[in-house]
Symmetry: C2
Subunit: 197 residues, 2 copies
DNA sequence: CCTTCCGGATGACATCTGTCATATCGCCGG
DNA sequence: CCGGCGATATGACAGATGTCATCCGGAAGG
């Protein structure tokens, strides 16, 4: 029996997926949580074999959760096939990556594979991540763009990062150019679509 | 037996919810579609009693679908409790509004209520929509902000709407002020959070 | 009928943003 | 050791953005 912990913020989805997985003879959902920060306590209590984590969650996102639990069998389940998510997940030791558009069979197969020590990556997502290439932004450019995405002005970003305004403008300009955008708004959208900020 | 059509773009979610609803003795999912533009043909073919529509879908969003089928028993199922969504849905004659964070029982109850000609609004969403009040933006302000949200510059917006640049700047400035934002980026985020653009 | 009000429209002005040329620093390969 | 490279940092400048005072026209109300 494969003991699974399921983390997703939407109760209906969580309940429903748990039900589907419960139909599989060899899979048992032993815990369900709706917030990222509740995963660690639940893991301690139930000692599941495999963690199925949604990326978008309050408290702590699924990728951060994965990064905080190295060595465990984990699988990311997400609505958004963002290349950056896949890279972060793999770097964190996650061995399974399944889109919510997958079928229940695909999810069950992925869980078995991950439990057995293997990998399961959705073919389309893997291809998209390959095509997209790596994150071209430097750390500072990402910092600046992430703050801009929250609506911060150049002055506010400069204050946050302890830089002069000119430098911040420069980072944003570089980011805009690297992302093939025309202004900061399209740059923010592009970076978010790729899962880079 | 209540015959239900289920429209949601994520297969796993669709399958799983169909399974949950199938457990209810009086509910039967007679059709499932993954795109908004496939709802109309499926309705013609299966003649369901109640339509359960996700807002976020490719092809055609759930609210537009609802607007195109007046008089039918419909229920909106969404991840995002945006006040503007609720208003648009009610205006389109939708009688049920359920967040994906609801329980399966709540969804089933809502479907029965809507099928019987009643209404079911998630209490929290209804309260949020009340608190938020109505969309304060005029039509032109919305047009301009929606284009800005796609990354368009003032010049491009002006060309699209057949206005001078000054007028466009004015609309955006009004929108920023009405939304309590400090620049167009925060204004865009605020308007999107409320479901106003 | 006249007034008031509000959305729509305009251009001038101050400020903010994006680009560019340039400089410094640490690191790697020759 | 030295040159080259890329990340970081800076300020000047041009162009884009946000604010303001103002005007126009139709709807609501006296």
């Amino acid at each position: 029996m494969i003991r699974v912990l399921l983390a997703d913020d939407e109760r209906l989805i969580r309940q429903a997926i748990a039900m589907l997985l419960g139909l599989e003879a060899d899979i048992e959902v032993v815990a369900q949580v709706g917030r990222g920060d509740l995963v660690a306590p639940a893991v301690r209590e139930h000692e599941p074999d495999v963690l199925v984590l949604d990326v978008e969650m309050p408290g702590m996102d699924g990728l951060s959760v994965a990064e905080s639990m190295p060595g465990r069998a984990m699988l990311i389940l997400t609505s958004f096939g963002r290349p950056g998510y896949l890279r972060r997940a793999l770097a964190a030791g996650v061995r399974g990556f399944v889109p919510k558009d997958a079928s229940a069979e695909e999810l069950a197969r992925a869980i078995r594979k991950v439990h057995a020590g293997g990998r399961y990556l959705d073919p389309e997502m893997a291809a998209a991540a390959m095509t997209a290439g790596d994150n071209p932004l430097t750390e500072r450019e990402r910092d600046a763009l992430a703050l801009a995405a929250k609506g911060a002005s150049v002055a506010q970003i400069a204050a946050s990062l302890h830089l002069t305004e000119g430098t911040v403008r420069n980072y944003l300009s570089n980011a805009i150019s690297k992302l093939g955008a025309g202004n900061r708004i399209t740059a923010i959208r592009a970076a978010q679509d790729m899962g880079w900020i």
